[in-house]
């Protein structure tokens, strides 16, 4: 290949020299040269920041051992998938032959053939694998799992330390692969919500692991992997989107508040497809920050470092926009215990108290911690040092770009609750409901989600189950299908509390139904009648027809509440398949498993 400034780390002059030299070299000259460079390289170790000609030496050096690397990801909302793709790119850059695949696309009986396996997986539900990891996870833990004595592997797990089963799925894969005889290329890394740095470090570890396995003959790149992004804006560099519209979708007298947000993407170059999500970096409630500052008697204007890179902010700003102050995690408590003279916190954390800790963190925030376990004999800097970075909130996109160029719409349910004698507000949803006006801006990014997509074939029937805010992506689906003039059958199940006030986007659905863009719609309003009815009730009522649709190859989409709805709907589906397909429970379950494999059962749940 012709080396250029663009496709290589060399400057113009170097590139030209090399381009003249390389074609003249014989194979043996090349091998000698690469060996020579490798040697000098490993001597001066990591110090050189720039990698030499990436592909050439790798090629030759790796001839001796397997340069095949398989990366399997399990991802619900796309983080693990994106990291897997990036890892793939940088490994290819290192001359490895990389296969990146979703666990659901991977044929388990190929497992034995693998030499290098990287697993990047998130955890969902309550310590459950993401949907597209379910079958592989089950296979590995089942009796049919093969011995994997000559497999080298490493696991990167994504999670959220505010959950009880932090990175559970990653841990399980890691342990199981070892049990099956696999050797670790690199120790597992468990990432919290702010996963970019640890993920990069893990990959560097993996790369050197792979190289060592190849007798250190190859070169090591300490170049951090970067995604090839279509827009300059990303999760790590969010775009400030202007708010065009912000209104409440619930009619007067409703118990609910659901905001409809319209944001402008103009000038961002950001694009999305139906099924993708949007990330928002919210700001904490100024009132809460105020209370915190007063409690700790710190100077709001004191300057503090907010990250490893050493960026600084005023303390007030930092607490408002940089750090998470509304969630307590065990790691946070442990670090906090070191910063307070109050011994009660250590006592709480002492072994055997796990349940007490769980009990304590549930429904409490930093203000509670500060109040309950003072005095805090510590500097503001030290204190913010233990806080988690403000995590972005994801929202299923509720619009179609084709139908609304340069716009993105969201459907956000306001989260308000009272715990431990204090009213608490969801950070992002209440920011949107109470403090965000048209004209303001929000830092956002697009979270592509390959696991929630309209079928390629426009004639494939689709069944959409989206109660409450779960309706969001289906509004996007409908807009897109209307725009594209898709003919295939579609069936929407929606539910909420009251028909009169909570039928989200009612007039739009009525129109789609009237115009035939939507074929069928069934709604369930749980508090209008004495007997409680939910979406799954309606699904049951239409079990026969619903099964017919599935048999016709329909794709079923489920979006919304993960804790209750998604489970109940899942079970109802199994019942329907059992009943209408007259199958055993096991049969019905594998029927669904197959649908999952075929991407005909897709979920976007939270």
């Amino acid at each position: 290949m012709q080396l250029q400034v663009m496709n290589s780390p060399f400057n113009q002059e170097q590139a030209e020299l090399l381009n003249r030299l390389l074609p003249t070299l014989t194979e043996s000259q090349k091998v000698w040269l690469s060996g020579y460079i490798a040697a000098t390289q490993s001597a001066s170790a990591i110090s050189t920041q720039e990698a030499p000609v990436a592909s050439l030496p790798a090629e030759s050096a790796v001839q001796t051992i397997s340069k095949e690397v398989t990366i399997l990801y399990g991802s619900q909302t796309g983080n693990a998938q994106r990291l897997a793709d990036n890892a793939g790119k940088s490994l290819e850059g290192q001359g490895f032959e990389v296969t990146v695949a979703s666990m659901s696309d991977f044929k388990p009986n190929n497992l034995k053939k693998l030499h290098n396996l990287l697993i990047i997986v998130s955890t969902h539900g309550e310590g459950d694998p993401p949907d597209n990891a379910l079958s592989f996870h089950e296979f590995l833990h089942g009796r049919r799992a093969p011995k994997l004595d000559d497999l080298r592997f490493s696991v990167l797990s994504l999670g959220d330390s505010s959950y009880e089963f932090f990175c559970q799925t990653g841990k399980e894969f890691d342990q199981r692969l070892e049990e099956l005889g696999g050797k670790r290329l690199n120790e597992r890394v468990d990432c919290d919500l702010d996963f970019d740095e640890p993920a990069t470090e893990w990959l560097e570890g993996v790369i050197s692991g792979l190289k060592e396995a190849q007798g250190g003959s190859a070169t090591v790149s300490s170049k951090t992997p970067q995604a090839a992004v279509e827009s300059e804006y990303s999760r790590t560099n969010p775009f400030k989107a202007e708010v065009l519209e912000n209104l409440n979708l619930n009619g007067r007298g409703s118990n609910k508040e659901t905001r409809h947000l319209e944001l402008s993407l103009e000038g961002s170059g950001l694009t999305y497809e139906p099924g993708d999500s949007l990330g928002i970096y919210p700001e904490n409630d100024p009132a809460l920050v105020e209370m915190l500052l007063q409690e700790l008697k710190w100077d709001p204007d004191e300057i503090v470092k907010v990250n490893k890179q050493g960026d600084v902010r005023s303390l007030k700003e930092a607490l408002t926009s940089q750090f998470e102050i509304t969630v307590l995690t065990k790691p946070l408590l442990q670090q906090a215990a070191e910063l307070t003279a109050n011994t009660k916190l250590k006592a709480l954390l002492s072994a055997g108290n796990e349940d007490k800790v769980k009990e304590y963190v549930n429904g409490r925030d930093l203000l509670d911690l500060v109040r309950d376990y003072g005095p805090w004999s510590v500097s503001a800097q030290e204190f913010v040092g233990i806080l988690r970075k403000m995590p972005a909130r994801l929202y299923s996109i509720a619009s179609s770009l084709a139908a609304n160029p340069d716009e993105v719409h969201l459907t956000i349910g306001a989260v308000r609750y009272n715990t431990h004698g204090r009213d608490r507000d969801g950070v992002c949803s209440i920011l949107c409901s109470e403090r965000l006006q048209a004209g303001d801006t929000l830092p956002i990014y697009i979270q592509h989600n390959q696991n929630f997509k309209l079928p390629q074939n426009p004639d494939t029937p689709i069944i959409m189950v989206g109660p409450g805010t779960g309706i969001a992506p289906f509004r996007s689906f409908m807009q897109e299908r209307e725009e594209m003039g898709v003919e295939g059958k579609s069936w929407m199940f929606f539910g909420d509390q009251h028909f009169v006030t909570d039928f989200l986007y009612q007039t739009e659905w009525q129109k789609w139904l009237k115009d035939g863009v939507l074929t069928k719609m069934d709604v369930a309003f749980s508090r209008d009648t004495d007997e409680k009815v939910y979406v799954q009730t309606r699904m049951q009522e239409h079990s026969k027809e619903l099964f017919e649709w599935l048999e016709e190859g329909a794709v079923i989409y489920i979006c919304g509440d993960e804790k209750h709805m998604a489970h109940d709907v899942h079970n109802t589906l199994i019942e329907i398949i059992e009943q209408e397909g007259s199958m055993s429970r096991e049969k019905a379950e594998s029927y669904i498993a197959t649908m999952q494999q075929e991407k005909r059962y897709q979920r976007d749940v939270y």
């Binding site: 979708l249 009619g251 039928f503 009612q506 007039t507 659905w509 709604v523 009648t529």
Partner: protein, 572 residues
């Protein structure tokens, strides 16, 4: 002109005629539409038919724009009108209405100007349950609206209870005998199995026919000297004639009606004219024949001119009388003399015969509801729980707690005082003589506020009243949100008809006893002008009135306004 040939007006039948024709005796596609869960509304065609079942689809107009922005359909809801002939309801029935209003309605009850109950805000999915519970209470909503005979009004005057009960008996019978025969109501709402065989045979409407009437038809029965039912506003009126304490029969009056349309001189309010006398047992015969005349010759092409009053004016009174007597096969007697002296109510406790007591309660705008400072609904509920007599809805949207035994009187009076239920004595007489239609937010035809606004306006009029020492002077004042005139404003001495938000036409000159229409005095005026006009008029009235002269007569005598001698010259 007696020999004028009889015929119905030319012209294509109106759309409503088509709907009735296709409806298979008022069924239409109601069964299906009521089951559809995606909208709480129903189609226009079905809504037309819904009226025959006593209900209207409406929406909360206060929320229209707001909900449109929120991507929500209008707040559709049904109004349900419960037929209570003569306005008589038992305590049990009262409690059922009260409960249904709380459970399925908007928590209030409306006592209508035709002595019926109305519930607002009922959702589609609750309609069947509501109607079934009403049915179980031995009331119904059949033909409470629609192109049929309506709830027959009857004077609830408790003073002469013997006469009243007798008159009431006849009214109730009329109301029931004139009901449509179709089983649609029972099928749709009461789950009655579809009647076997073709409807044409089983339920053909002997009197109405498959197309029913060209328009609504209204009958009222008055017991002089009270004209509370506004007998002259009825399509057909019966005036009880009492001779030495006995009911001998009724004078018959035909061709009244109030409704009109702004700017359409072809439409006008008209007073019924007395054409003769009949015996009590002949009442049904007369009603039936009058109705069939309207059925055959009423205008089915232009609904605005379809009421019986236009049929009478077009054919001529004599022609109609001749046709009536032809169909009766006998002649009406000479009308007997009678005298009305008022069309309002008389409030407070009165002792009737047989030692029974009656308490007439002033109900502003006929709205039964609980306000922070006035728990009317609760009070009446508590009374109904112990009341062994009955409740009587008056044509002036008021309520009579009737037939209270001397034993119960004390207990009930305690409750009346505990809840401050008012006979209106502490109000100005003009407020006690006020009437306002429902209008906004539920009425789809409203152009301006009425029920919600008249009380506020009267607060301000009261000041003028007091300045002029007229606090105890009964002046009937009526307001409607549009010229359909549901509160009979043209028969109020001071009348207001809504034209646009905050704007009203003002009418003067009606007679206190309801025997003369008023005339437009000012067009399209707002509150400021209303008040300045009244300031002048009322102070003149206070100064220059003759002994016992009513305001309506005064404005005519002093030539503030010309007397309307007949509906046909109302617009001149």
């Amino acid at each position: 002109m007696v020999n004028k040939t009889l015929n119905a007006p030319e012209g294509l039948p109106s759309d409503v005629e088509r709907i009735k024709e296709e409806s298979n005796y008022l069924r239409g596609t109601l069964k299906e539409t009521m089951l559809d869960r995606i909208s709480s509304g129903i189609s226009d065609d079905d809504n037309r038919l819904m009226k025959f079942h006593g209900s209207y689809l409406q929406d909360d107009r206060d929320l229209r724009n707001e909900r449109q922005k929120q991507k929500l359909e209008p707040a559709y809801q049904f109004m349900l009108r419960v037929r209570t002939p003569g306005g008589v309801s038992t305590s049990e029935q009262w409690l059922v209405m009260d409960e249904l209003a709380q459970k399925y309605g908007n928590g209030t009850l409306k006592l209508t100007t035709r002595q019926a109950f109305q519930m607002h805000g009922i959702l589609k999915w609750n309609m069947k349950k509501t109607i079934q519970e009403i049915h179980a209470s031995l009331l119904d909503t059949i033909a409470a609206c629609g192109d049929v005979n309506r709830n027959v009004m009857c004077n609830p005057n408790p003073d002469q209870s013997d006469i009243h009960s007798e008159v009431f008996k006849w009214s109730k019978q009329l109301s029931d005998d004139l009901l449509p025969r179709t089983r649609a109501y029972h099928e749709l709402w009461l789950d009655e199995e579809k009647v076997a065989g073709t409807p044409e045979i089983d339920e053909s409407e002997p009197m109405y026919g498959p197309l029913y009437l060209p328009r609504k038809f209204k009958i009222g029965v008055a017991v002089p000297p009270s004209n509370d039912v506004d007998i002259y506003s009825q399509d057909l009126g019966f005036i009880a004639i009492v001779e030495d304490e006995k009911l001998v029969g009724f004078n018959v009056a035909i061709g009244g009606g109030m409704g009109m349309s702004h700017g359409d001189k072809e439409t006008y309010p008209q007073l019924a004219k007395v054409i003769g006398f009949c015996k009590p047992e002949q009442v049904y015969d007369v009603a039936e024949k009058i109705i069939t005349i309207q059925r055959d010759y009423g205008n089915r092409s232009e609904r605005k001119n379809a009421r019986f009053k236009y049929t009478v004016d077009r054919l001529g009174l004599e022609t109609v009388m001749a046709e009536l007597e032809k169909r009766l096969g006998w002649n009406l007697d000479e009308a007997k003399s009678y005298h009305f002296d008022h069309n309002g109510d008389r409030y407070g406790w009165v002792k009737g015969i047989k030692g029974k007591w009656h308490f007439t309660l002033f109900v502003q705008g006929g709205r039964i509801t609980d306000l922070n400072d006035y728990k009317l609904m609760t009070g009446l509920r508590e009374i109904a729980k112990i009341h062994t007599g009955d409740f009587r809805l008056t044509a002036n949207q008021n309520l009579v707690i009737a037939n209270v035994t001397s034993q119960k009187k004390k207990k009930i009076n305690e409750l009346i005082e505990q809840y401050g239920l008012t006979d209106g004595k502490h109000y100005s007489a003009i407020r006690r003589s006020s009437l306002a239609c429902v209008s906004l937010p539920t009425c789809g035809l409203a152009m301006a506020e009425a029920e919600r606004y008249l009380p506020v306006l009267i607060d301000k009029i009261d000041e003028i009243i007091d300045e002029n020492g007229l606090r105890d002077e009964e002046i009937t004042i009526r307001m409607t949100g549009c010229p359909n005139s549901c509160a009979r404003p043209i028969l109020g001495e001071i009348g207001f008809i809504g034209k646009a938000p905050g704007k009203y036409n003002m009418y003067l000159g009606a007679a206190f006893d309801g025997s003369r229409l008023s005339k437009m005095y000012r067009e399209n005026i707002g509150e400021a002008e209303i008040l300045s006009e009244l300031r002048v008029l009322l102070s003149n009235f206070a100064k220059e009135r003759k002994e016992g002269e009513h305001f309506g007569d005064f404005v005519i005598r002093t030539e503030v306004i010309k007397a309307v001698t007949d509906g046909t010259n109302f617009h001149d």
